[in-house]
Every structure is written in structure tokens, then in C-alpha cells.
């Protein structure tokens, strides 16, 4: 399984999660975990997803998510989970 962490940061508004989830569903990306919090007034959402079934290349997903973020006025990033795992787990 190839795990990716998707983060969404920005001003809260209606339908952010719906929009991102729709994109993921359409691209066969399974959501394993989802959580959200408010940091310094900003909406922060994190999803851990499984990208092993998606036919799209990582670069393409990265760009398309970025594009969705621009449309709804938030910043969406996708990163391989390893960077967080390595930094915070021994």
C-alpha cells in the first residue's frame, strides 16, 4: 500500500471536504483516516489515503489537487507519508 498524506489549509467554507473526497473517489483513492482542526484561525484538514489503486501518476494527482485548492480558495498538498513517519516515529 502506498500511503499519501493530503493536507488542506485555508479559510473554512461549505463543501471543502466534499470537493476533495469526490476527486479522490473518482480517482480510486481510498481514504484511510481523516481529521481536522483549527490552527490560528485557519481550517486544517489532514487525510491519509491509499494511492496504490489509482491509475494516475503522483505528479498528476499533485497538480489536480492543487488546482481544486485554487478553485475553492485553500491550499492542498499531497506528500508521501514517509516524511512524517520518519520524522515522528523511531
Amino acid at each position: 500500500m502506498k500511503r499519501t498524506v493530503i493536507t488542506v489549509v485555508g479559510k473554512d467554507s461549505v463543501g471543502i471536504i466534499a470537493k476533495v473526497c469526490t476527486y479522490l473517489a473518482n480517482n480510486k483513492i481510498n481514504i484511510l483516516d481523516i481529521s481536522q482542526t483549527i490552527v490560528q484561525g485557519f481550517f486544517n484538514m489532514m487525510m491519509i489515503v491509499d494511492t496504490s489503486e489509482t491509475p494516475k501518476a503522483f505528479d498528476v494527482i499533485l497538480e489536480e489537487l492543487e488546482q481544486i485548492g485554487t478553485e475553492i480558495g485553500v491550499i492542498i498538498k499531497a506528500q508521501h507519508e514517509d516524511i512524517f513517519d520518519k520524522m515522528h516515529r523511531i
Partner: protein, 454 residues
């Protein structure tokens, strides 16, 4: 599973605190390119570098995108050219032709610096070593991406004072030949004692003869992350301070380790080492001097600076060593002047002198780094500064280095702009008293005793 606060913490380090991987450096052995025919040597060098490193830049960019961590530089280090060119090079111009080949190869694969136009002369120089050293001014003024280094001493062999003397002249000549660009050639020349074989950082990187055919070494950075972490423990005691640095260094280094392993896998080249260095840039919030200020000093250079730097350096190593399977290179806090806004401020405020910098180099890597001095400084004085720094390295069994820039046409009170990551610097005053008779003696300083340490 990773939680949201850990994800936010990591991304804050990257987005707001300048966490990055400073360099992925691909070390390439050129020993198999040596031979008596210069044209053939040049062709082999070009082919080997452009073949081995053809995917380096693309790989760095791919890792950057997939993990969301900036990888600032992709670079190459090669076998010291004095060894590779020894059989083929009979004149200074012969060596310069190799420098040009290296420059061309670096441009082809898209790296901004290539290190290894080097000679290892810690005991004495061969004819070939001396020829290479004499070719440095021309090589550095006629190329853009080539970096040069000379190892003139070690704890095991002592210091080759003939080479130290020669390098005083070479540095001045390099400054003279690049005077139109504020003597920037000297920013690409490092004089070492105890030079490591696996240093990924420029300008002193070279691929040592103890290394394999090719190797991936990674240099991490992150002074901004350490500074931010220390802001949360203001006023706390030294135990808390040290623990905070250690934990932060661990996290930074883990990223370096991950990047090194990924790069190694993608390039199909063995992973060498992670260099645990705090490498500043001129960007605000990416400064080692600001960490020293956060520890409690008004400016870097104030009394207490050496102690603060010693503990910083030591804790970075303690945290980093466990985070990586192989640690090497220079591994320590860098204290360049022009590349660190906090150091520049300290010099301009009159808090930091060349002598204090020398004391600081006793407890950290690397040495007198990116220091601009008046262009009319005598060659023997430059050699004297080098000799002092080499002696610190030799006696203390550590790497020390000098990267000093006599800026032709400028003097104390002036300021010099190198641009980009090299930054800017005020010209620092140099002690005016002579060391001519000392430097002119010639010969070498014997290796030090390894017991009775006091």
C-alpha cells in the same frame, strides 16, 4: 498512524522555518579516467560524469515533489583532480583544460557546482599537486561551476607549510583574476586540515580515494527550525535547552536520511552518509547566528559565544547521530559570515572579529568561512591566517578550513556583494603585524603528539 499535529509540525518547519535538504551530492570516482593522453582523459571524464549523473537533477526534483521538502542543490564531487591528471598534465594549461571539461560536464547535467578540483598535500606536494595548485587561479577564473580545495595538513601528518605559503599567493592571484566580480573566485576555493572524504557541501566537496565508484551523500540544514524550537524554551536552563536542540536535530536529520535513501534507490547508487550540518543561508530566519542570539547572546561574538556554539554543535550531533544510519562529512554548525544574516549583523555591529571567529572554529565545523578581507592584504598574512586555522584542526583532531576572500580594490568599511546563496559581507579588518619570517621558513610542521592532551 501519523496524527494531524505531527503533519502540521512538519509542514510548518518546511513552509515557515526554512527546513530543507541543502544538497544531494553525487560522488563520482574518476580514478579510471587517468592516463597519459590528455585529450583521452578529458573525454573519459566528461563521459563518466555525464553518464553517472545524468538523472541526478531529475531525481532530486522528483523527491522534492513527492515529499514536499525543498532540495536546494544537486551537486557533484569527483576524485581529487591532482590524482586523475597526474600522468597527463605537464603544464598549468593542461590542468585548466580538465577544469573546463568539469565545467562543461556540470553544465550538461545541470548542477550548479562540481567539487574536486583538488589536491591532497598534507605532508608534501608532488610535482603534479603543485602544478594543479598553481593552475587554480586560472581554473577558477575561467570556469563557472568548478570548486577547488587543497588539504594542507592533518593530525597524522602535520602541516605542509610550503603548500600553506604557496596558497597565500594563489588566493591573491585568484582574487586578482576575478576582481571584476568582487574576487568571487576565492569563494570557490577551500584550504583544509583533516579534509573528510565524503563531504557533500561546497566548495570543499571532493570524492575521496577511500570511496567506492559512486556514492550519494546528503547535507541537511535547518537553522531556522532550531531557532524556532528554542523560542519556546526562553529562560529555561541548559538541560532543557540542550534537550530541545537534540530533539530538533533528530527530526531534521531523519528527513535527510529519508531523502538520501530515496535518492540512492532511484539513482541505483549506494548511500554514503548524511552530513549533520546546520548550514545557514542569507535568508531571514535561516541563520546560525540567530540561534546563538536565541541561546542568550546580544550578537554572535559576544562573550559566551564559543560556549554557546560548542553546546549547539554537540547537541546537533547527539540528536543527529541516532537519526541516520551513516553520519559523515563535516557534521557541525557552519559559521560563514557572508552567508548568514545574523553573522553579517554581528560584524557590522562590531561584535564579531576575525580573532573571535577563529576561537569559534575550535568547537564547530568548519572554519573561517566566506570572510571578506581587504584586497591589499599580504600573501604571507593570508598564509599566516591559514596556518593558524590548520594548527587548530591538527591539534584538535578535527576538520578546519579557510575560505577567505581578499576583495581587490576594497578595504575596511566597504561592503561586497557575492549574490545568491553566497550573500554579502562587510570587509573585515585583518591584524596588520607581519608574519613574513614565519611563513618564509618553508618545510613542514611535524605531526603532533597524541598523548598528554592539555
Amino acid at each position: 498512524m501519523i496524527n494531524i499535529h505531527e503533519v502540521i509540525e512538519t509542514n510548518k518547519m518546511i513552509e515557515q522555518e526554512n527546513l530543507d535538504v541543502r544538497t544531494i551530492t553525487l560522488g563520482i570516482s574518476l580514478l579510471d579516467c587517468a592516463g597519459p593522453d590528455l585529450a583521452e582523459v578529458n573525454a573519459k571524464i566528461y563521459d563518466k560524469i555525464t553518464t553517472t549523473a545524468k538523472d541526478l537533477v531529475a531525481t532530486g526534483n522528483k523527491i522534492q515533489r513527492e515529499y514536499g521538502i525543498p532540495i536546494v542543490n544537486k551537486r557533484i564531487s569527483v576524485t581529487p583532480i591532482a590524482l586523475v591528471g597526474a600522468a597527463a598534465c605537464k603544464t598549468v594549461e593542461d590542468y585548466v583544460s580538465i577544469a573546463k571539461t568539469l565545467d562543461r560536464a556540470a553544465a550538461t547535467v545541470g548542477v550548479n557546482f562540481l567539487g574536486g578540483y583538488s589536491a591532497l598535500v598534507s605532508k608534501s606536494m608532488t610535482a603534479s599537486d603543485e602544478l594543479l595548485i598553481r593552475s587554480i587561479p586560472q581554473a577558477l577564473s575561467q570556469t563557472e561551476r568548478v570548486c577547488s580545495s587543497v588539504n594542507v595538513g592533518s593530525t597524522r601528518t602535520g602541516i605542509d607549510m610550503n603548500a600553506v605559503k604557496l596558497l597565500g599567493d594563489i588566493i591573491l592571484e585568484t582574487a586578482q583574476l576575478t576582481k571584476e566580480k568582487d574576487s568571487i573566485g576565492c569563494a570557490k576555493l577551500v584550504v583544509f586540515c583533516n579534509a573528510p572524504d565524503d563531504n557533500p557541501f561546497m566548495a570543499g566537496a571532493f570524492h575521496g580515494v577511500t570511496e567506492g565508484d559512486a556514492v550519494v551523500n546528503v547535507g541537511v540544514s535547518g537553522p531556522g527550525v532550531v531557532k524556532k524550537a528554542l523560542e519556546s524554551v526562553r529562560g529555561a536552563d541548559f538541560e532543557t535547552l540542550c534537550e530541545t536542540i537534540k530533539k530538533t536535530a533528530f527530526k531534521i536529520t531523519r528527513v535527510g536520511q529519508l531523502v538520501a535513501q530515496e535518492a540512492s534507490k532511484m539513482l541505483n547508487v549506494p548511500f554514503g552518509i548524511v552530513d549533520l550540518s546546520l548550514a545557514p543561508t542569507p535568508a531571514i530566519g535561516d541563520s546560525v547566528a540567530e540561534i546563538l542570539e536565541e541561546i542568550g547572546l546580544e550578537y554572535a561574538g559576544a562573550p559566551g559565544t564559543t560556549a554557546a556554539l560548542a553546546l549547539l554543535n554537540d547537541q546537533v550531533k547527539k540528536g543527529g547521530v541516532m537519526a541516520s544510519s551513516f553520519v559523515g562529512g563535516l557534521s557541525g554548525a557552519f559559521i560563514p559570515v557572508s552567508e548568514d544574516q545574523g553573522m553579517i549583523n554581528a560584524v557590522e555591529a562590531g561584535a564579531l572579529t576575525l580573532e573571535k571567529l577563529e576561537a569559534m572554529t575550535c568547537v564547530c565545523s568548519v572554519g573561517l568561512d566566506m570572510i571578506a578581507i581587504p584586497g591589499d592584504t599580504k600573501a604571507t598574512t593570508i598564509s599566516g591566517i591559514i596556518a593558524d586555522e590548520m594548527a587548530i584542526g591538527m591539534i584538535n583532531q578535527k576538520t578546519t578550513a579557510v575560505r577567505i576572500i581578499p576583495v581587490i580594490g576594497k578595504t575596511v568599511g566597504d561592503r561586497v556583494e557575492f549574490g545568491g546563496l553566497l550573500g554579502y559581507s562587510p570587509i573585515m579588518p585583518v591584524n596588520q603585524f607581519s608574519c613574513d619570517n614565519f611563513i618564509n621558513r618553508g618545510g613542514r610542521i611535524p605531526a603532533p603528539i597524541h598523548s598528554f592532551k592539555n
